[in-house]
């Protein structure tokens, strides 16, 4: 993995980093690279209350906040920002306010690399809205000053639109931290992780591939989304 000056990670929900980026974040931290994680909401509108329920609509934000803190600790992140937006409302915020939120984070942290979603290929409206703000904020910077932007995309038509990811990080060395990050978000992941840990124990190739490799699309300004 390339050396970076500072990495800025921007996602809307407390567990968005866990599945596909936590190995990368942990590895950067092990390399001594500063990582800022800006999480826009507390995932207040999550649906997993459990059976019997361990949460309700009003207690879930506090639970997910604690999980986020635990996940940041697992990845070795010491600069976690909770940005105070509300889950499922990001796309309805003022677009300029969203661009400014991202621009301010970039100005403050001076990242050489930003990691977020890819606009309109990231399924959840909050993901796409976050991605649009990130792209717009960086686009306004002079080309020579723009940080690199790595994006995650997982809509069904992703491969059709973007082809294969051009960045593949080998993060096997951070496997334990990646699993710890997933487990930290227990309210969202506990069912998935039971299955995942069984598959990993059986050396299932797909599960191992998920654990050991993370894939990103470098945002291409010559193929801008708008």
């Amino acid at each position: 993995m390339k050396q970076e000056r500072h990495v800025l990670v921007i996602f809307p929900h407390p567990d968005d980093e866990a599945f596909g980026v936590s190995g990368t974040i942990s590895t950067y931290r092990e390399m001594g690279i500063p990582v800022t994680y800006a999480c826009l909401t507390l995932g207040e509108m999550g649906r997993n209350f459990g059976n019997p329920p361990f949460a309700n609509r009003e207690t879930l934000p506090q639970i997910r906040k604690q999980e986020l803190l635990k996940a940041a600790e697992a990845m070795g992140i010491d600069d976690l920002r909770m940005m105070g937006l509300r889950d499922k409302t990001v796309e309805f915020e003022n677009d300029e306010k969203m661009v400014k939120l991202v621009a301010d984070l970039i100005e403050e942290t001076q990242p050489s690399l930003v990691i977020s979603f890819y606009p309109n290929l990231s399924v959840h409206p909050d993901h796409d809205a976050t991605a649009r703000a990130v792209v717009r904020a960086i686009r306004r910077m002079p080309e020579s000053e723009r940080p690199t932007l790595y994006t995650i995309a997982f809509a069904h038509n992703t491969r059709e639109v973007l082809g294969d990811p051009d960045i593949i990080h080998h993060v096997e060395g951070a496997a334990k931290k990646k699993l710890a990050t997933m487990n930290a978000h227990a309210s969202q992941t506990v069912w998935m992780m039971q299955d995942m840990e069984k598959r990993l124990a059986e050396q299932d190739p797909e599960a191992l591939k998920w654990l050991h490799y993370e894939r990103f699309y470098t945002y291409r300004w010559d193929q801008d989304f708008e």
Binding site: R47, F49, G50, P53, N56, K88, A155
Partner: protein, 116 residues
């Protein structure tokens, strides 16, 4: 939250009648519904911290229950309520959870605004 005991829930609903109360009403299939099931028509609605005063509130049906609130000029109702609790802030939180414990509908009543 506990499984709805209709008589007890009815008492709680009655205790908020004829007062200005804050309402949270939500239905959801989850933002990923049409990602996981192609062609799924994903619909939902969400209101939070709207103030109403209801003259009559009723728990109806077997579980999952229907809850209806009659207002001077209108109605609020929720279908599919399975669980409820009166929390430590005196708010009545009702939810409809599917067998996996995923929220499908929520109706909450409070004399103070909901936070977050």
């Amino acid at each position: 939250m506990e499984l709805v005991q209709p008589a007890h829930l009815q008492e709680l609903i009655d205790s908020f009648a004829n007062k200005d109360v804050y309402i949270h009403l939500e239905t959801t299939n989850g933002s990923y519904a049409s990602h996981f099931k192609e062609g799924f028509f994903n619909a939902g609605a969400f209101i939070r911290n709207v103030v109403v005063k209801y003259e009559l509130g009723k728990v109806a049906g077997e579980s999952p229950h229907r809850i209806g609130l009659k207002l001077p000029y209108g109605w609020v109702y929720a279908q599919g309520i399975t669980h409820y609790t009166l929390d430590e802030h005196g708010r009545l939180l009702m939810a409809g959870l599917d067998p996996e414990g995923k929220l499908a509908v929520s109706l909450e009543i409070s004399e103070t605004p909901f936070t977050y």
